[in-house]
């Protein structure tokens, strides 16, 4: 394995598949689907290899690849991963792998274009998580966002034009803000050291003065905060989820929202520790709006996808709260929650999509007693609901527990409200389970089909299994996360490395 450019392969494989698909005839649906499935499966395998090959003892950035790109501006094709990004890559490959199968069932028109765009998107996401160059990071980020526009615009459901426009505008707006911060760091560091470079590793050795850190933190936290989405810039996300086709909702909520949090960890906190110390208490306050406000809005939503959408923005509040603690326990919890929530929410959207494709309604009160007809979906949905409300046994519980333990020390009052948020989550999730799956079956849903074939069941089984395995034995991911979090927190606390 030595010298094998595994990261480039993970990023490149979907792109190669895209090239191949361009030359495949529109009608050979089966080939198109198989190529996508095989590609993403290889990506999944490679990312798991990455996960097990990553040396948590040594920590730091590994599997580094570096090629000069634009030398005069200090831009290079620089890839490398630490524990946090490895986990995010694993998350992405799980979501895209299952997403391909969800689309297999759900997408009936323009199949070729759909898969091409999905693969483009995922290549961008892999790139963001592996990039060690700020401009490369930005490049991959845009690569991930742009396919979102046609994906929602073409295959979306009600109100898709509005949703996709709003989503793209918000995401680009956030990206531009973040770019501002990146450029500020680039020029300041360049002026300070004399060499202009976008390289994150070189950049992280630079010590910026306090006032600059505090100023530069603002565009970064806002830019990436829009993606997270941090209240009050959250409104693109629920409607984006709602309008998108299932697989895209999965990628969107499961992975794209994590890009924001990842950017905050990697750039905002990693490069501007003093800025983080200065601003994070305020961010913690905003998180509460996310958690409580998002939760309460989810409570009164009647549309399943909107409900899960608002619940996502509420859960991302926990992620940010964990990050805001700036302590090892809280940040570990936050990263793990990014993973757990990614998987959980992918599960949620794939299930809702499966039901919607048959019933053409997502309104909670239109559906009733489905458990009788679709027991498999009912069980999976209930699992998702319990995972979401933080029931032990699922990865979400461990992550939320760590966030709370970490946060209780720093922000006790915030934590109390955040823990209350769990009750709110349980309320709307169980309300949905009760209304949609329990009670009297309605006659009009007699024709409903359960997930029966391998292709239909596989995504749910895989996602639930991941949640349970990680929930029962969190050490699988925690060693990895911890190896990435410790250097970060040491830097923030001013403890010299090593």
């Amino acid at each position: 394995m030595e010298g094998f450019p595994i990261l480039s392969v993970i990023i490149g494989l979907p792109l190669v598949a895209v090239l191949f698909l361009l030359f495949v005839k529109e009608e050979s649906i089966y080939l198109i689907r198989c190529v996508s499935a095989v590609t993403t499966f290889i990506c999944l395998l490679l990312s798991l290899i990455l996960m097990f090959k990553y040396d948590t003892e040594a920590a730091g950035f590994q599997f580094i690849e570096k090629i000069e790109w634009v030398k005069s501006m200090g831009i290079s094709y620089h890839l490398g991963v630490d524990g946090i990004s490895v986990l995010m890559i694993v998350l992405t490959s799980f979501v895209i792998f299952t997403g391909v199968f969800v689309s297999w069932v759900g997408i009936k028109t323009r199949i070729k274009e759909h898969y091409i765009l999905m693969l483009l998107l995922v290549a961008g996401v892999f790139g963001v998580f592996a990039a060690l160059d700020m401009l490369l990071f930005y490049f991959f980020y845009e690569l991930a966002v742009i396919p979102m526009y046609p994906l929602i615009g073409i295959w979306g459901s009600a109100n898709r034009e509005y949703a996709t426009m709003k989503l793209t505008l918000y995401l680009s707006f956030g990206a531009v803000f973040a770019l501002l911060g990146i450029l500020a760091i680039y020029f300041t560091a360049g002026a300070q050291t004399g060499t202009y470079t976008f390289d994150m590793l070189e950049m992280s050795a630079v010590v910026f003065d306090r006032s600059f850190q505090i100023k530069a933190f603002i565009p970064l936290i806002f830019g990436f905060g829009v993606l997270v989405p941090l209240a009050p810039f959250h409104s693109w996300s629920p409607i984006g989820h709602a309008a998108a086709p299932s697989a895209v909702s999965m990628l969107h909520a499961g992975v794209l929202m994590k890009l924001g949090a990842y950017g905050i960890i990697r750039l905002a906190m990693g490069l501007l520790p003093e800025g983080a110390v200065y601003w994070m208490p305020y961010v913690a306050g905003l998180c509460l709006i996310n958690i409580f406000y998002g939760g309460m809005v989810a409570l009164s939503r009647k549309d399943l996808k909107f409900m899960v959408g608002y619940s996502s923005s509420s859960h991302m509040g926990y992620v940010l709260l964990g990050l805001a603690t700036l302590g090892t326990v809280g940040v570990n919890g936050a990263v793990m929650l990014m993973f757990a929530h990614g998987i959980m929410t992918a599960l949620a959207f794939s299930l809702i999509g499966f039901i919607y494709d048959q019933t053409h309604t997502r309104m909670i009160y239109d559906l009733s007693g489905l458990a009788k007809k679709v027991p498999f979906l009912a069980v999976s949905f209930a699992m998702m609901a319990f995972a979401s409300s933080g029931l032990p046994g699922f990865a979400n519980f461990v992550a939320e527990l760590m966030v709370f333990i970490g946060a209780f020390k720093v922000y006790p009052i915030h934590t109390i409200i955040a823990v209350f948020g769990i009750i709110v989550t349980a309320t709307y999730m169980l309300r949905a389970v009760r209304t949609v799956f329990f009670c009297e079956p309605l006659e009009k849903w007699d024709g409903l089909r359960d997930a029966k074939t391998f292709v239909e069941r596989m995504p749910y089984v895989v996602l639930v299994a991941v949640l349970l395995i990680v929930g029962f034995y969190p050490a699988i991911v925690l060693d990895l996360i911890d190896s990435g979090v410790v250097p970060l927190i040491n830097k923030i606390n001013g403890v010299p490395l090593g």
Binding site: K166, P232, S235, Y293, M296, V297, L299, S300, R301, G327, T328, V329, N332, G369, A371, K372, F386, S389, L391, P392, G393, F397, V398, L401, M402, F404, I405, G406, F408, K409, T415, I416, V419, F420, I422, I423, A426, T427, L430, R431, V433, R434, F437, F438, C439, E440, P441, Y473, P474, A475, L478, I481, D482, V485, V486, I489
Partner: protein
């Protein structure tokens, strides 16, 4: 290693039933029964050890479950005499109820699902009992909640069952909210989740008293939820929507007692904390006991009456633990598990025969169902605390704890509860088994798989109290590790006498009310219409919670925030902004005429302007 088997056997059974043997109903049920009986036999050696040496040294073992910098959580088991008592109750009563359920659930849809859930419950409940740390307790605490949710919602197509399941889970969540915060407070005060280490820190006086008081009360919140104490008692009566074996196992004998067990586990906290903490607990317990007994008076659903009596018994236990009487509390917990499981199973047997829950549609069943009748009456006598049945000894210990503590209000509440219990238990027995025939159809005695557990339980309901017989060594009271002066129990003839008198008075009144020719249902109602109505509506707690707290405040806040989100945020701010951008754009688009030469003109004039500027400023 055998300790872990206690957890592994039931969960594996549950998984196997779900994935493999689901189709074969009988096999599933046998597996489940075998699992719980196997657990019972694993527990037996510990019981023998504990009987030989009540102050047995705790067996503890642990493994690392979660480790990151700054946080290290170990999962482990801890077995001392308190654990052994709970283990025995759970596995023994559990075994009997499993066997009973085989007969009771015959022919139900989802038979395998039921047994999978039961095994899962045993797993979770044993987890709570075995846990050596607070996080593990919390984990299994939630998991029993899940088991309870699944089993209450067993008849998920019934809206009332679906609602009750949801309600049970959510109300418990509110209690757990306090529990988890309490765990955090303790963690930051002592730096550990482990009971042994926490106790060590606390007893060494390293923790400030008010912190301990706060932590103790927050943990108590968890017990309030799980053990259905006032004000979170509302879920337990509704939980009777589940099948009767579930009510017996989970909502009477074991799970609801977990709150009391937790309080017993952390009794050292109450001992070291300011006394007010314990007093709060005791008063909550006393209030629950009295209130629940009153509410039981006006019910007519046989399971609900027993459920309210469970509430009131739990109130007793909590009161006792709050007053420092861990031993009496646990003693009551044990005897209660036997006689309450017996009552529920008896009720189940009756329901099985009559296909109704209403005691007004039974009557004169005794000749038809002798075994059920006899055992039910034995259970009732134990429940009321008639000498020398089990309930007498344990209730007496609690009442004398209250008597000794000097809290006359609590003692009064306890005695009054005993009196009322006498009335409504007499009512069930009289209306269900004697008096006029009011049933429909042709009820007959239940199959042996149901009556045998009844007989076994009734033996224990009669004799289990002798474990606390004054002067017996080892006495139950010495079994339970306790702090402070509450050592072995002294028999108090005054208390015992008064409670016996009171119970007989209750039975007498019940007898007078519910026998005779006149339709007895309306006697109480006619005499005290207002009071009866209040009791029938359970002091309007559900109305208040559902109508005010949930509908108005909780959902109201949600609706208001949703309104803000939709109208102010999205429609006004965001779409408004977008609208204004469009307006400006529409104004500017007049310049796009499509005439090539207009564009050329604009371009040239632009160039001219630039040239002029250049000439003006730069030449």
């Amino acid at each position: 290693m055998d300790v872990w088997a206690l957890l592994i056997i039931p969960i594996v059974t549950s998984v196997v039933i779900v994935f493999i043997t689901r189709k074969w109903k009988n096999l599933s049920s046998y597996l489940s029964i075998a699992a719980v009986i196997a657990c019972f036999f694993i527990v037996l050696p510990y019981l023998i050890e504990a009987l030989g040496n009540p102050h047995m040294h705790g067996h503890e073992q642990a493994f690392t479950w979660l480790k990151v910098s700054g946080l290290h959580i170990k999962m482990g088991t801890f077995i001392d005499s308190l654990t052994v008592v709970m283990l025995c109750i759970v596995t023994f009563v559990g075994s009997l109820i499993h066997i009973y359920a085989r007969g009771y659930m015959e022919g139900e849809e989802g038979y395998s699902r039921f047994f999978a859930c039961l095994s899962f419950f045993i797993f979770a409940m044993l987890g709570i009992v075995l846990a050596n740390n607070l996080i593990m307790i919390f984990i299994f605490w939630e998991l029993v909640g899940l088991a309870s949710y699944l089993l209450i919602g067993y008849y998920y197509q019934k809206p009332s069952a679906a609602d009750a399941a949801k309600k049970a889970f959510l109300v418990n969540r509110i209690g757990d909210f306090g529990l988890i915060l309490g765990i955090f407070v303790i963690y930051y005060a002592t730096g550990s989740f482990n009971f042994g280490e926490i106790e060590h820190q606390v007893m060494a006086g390293h923790v400030e008293p008010w912190t301990m008081g706060l932590a103790a009360l927050l943990l108590f919140c968890g017990a309030v939820g799980k053990s259905a104490q006032f004000p979170l008692h509302v879920w337990l009566p509704d939980a009777m929507e589940g099948p009767t074996p579930v009510s017996a196992l989970i909502h009477a004998a074991t799970m609801v007692a977990a709150g009391v067990y937790l309080l017993a586990r952390i009794s050292f906290l109450f001992y070291m904390a300011p006394p007010e903490a314990g007093i709060v607990v005791a008063y909550v317990g006393g209030l629950t006991a009295l209130m629940a007994a009153l509410m039981a008076l006006a019910q007519s659903d046989i399971k609900k009456i027993i459920a309210y009596s469970t509430l009131s018994s739990l109130g007793y236990m909590v009161m006792s633990v709050g007053l420092g009487g861990t031993g009496p509390g646990m003693f009551y917990l044990m005897t209660h598990a036997f006689f309450k499981a017996l009552l529920f199973l008896g009720a189940g047997s009756v329901i099985h025969a009559c296909h109704t829950n209403s005691i007004w549609e039974m009557g004169k069943l005794y000749p038809k169902m002798k075994a059920t009748g006899v055992t039910f009456i034995l259970g009732s006598l134990a429940m009321m605390g008639v000498f020398p049945f089990a309930g007498f000894w344990s209730k007496d210990e609690i009442l004398s704890t209250a008597f000794d503590s000097g809290h006359w209000l609590l003692y009064g509440a306890g005695t009054l509860t005993a009196f009322i219990t006498g009335i409504f238990i007499t009512k069930i027995v009289l209306l269900a088994f004697f008096g006029k025939k009011r049933y429909h159809g042709n009820p007959h005695e239940s199959p042996p798989s149901m009556t045998i557990p009844l007989v076994v339980l009734s033996v224990f309901a009669v004799f289990a109290g002798l474990a606390g017989f004054p002067g017996l060594e080892p006495n139950f009271g010495s079994f339970i590790p306790s702090h402070g002066h509450h050592g072995p129990h002294h028999f108090n003839f005054l208390v015992a006498g008064i409670s016996t008198l009171v119970v007989f008075a209750g039975i007498l009144i019940g007898w007078k009310l519910y026998t005779g020719e006149a339709e007895p249902a309306h006697r109480l109602k006619a005499q005290y219409p207002c009071l009866y109505k209040v009791l029938e509506n359970k002091f309007y707690f559900d109305h208040f919670y559902d109508g005010v707290l949930v509908a108005v405040i909780y959902n109201g806040i949600g609706k208001i925030l949703n309104f803000i989100e939709v109208n102010i945020f999205i429609n006004f701010l965001i779409n408004g902004f977008a609208y204004n951008v469009r307006v400006v754009g529409r104004a500017l688009r007049g310049t796009i005429t499509g005439q090539l030469q207009h564009y050329a003109l604009f371009m040239v004039s632009g160039v001219v302007v630039l040239v002029l500027i250049f000439l003006q400023y730069f030449v």
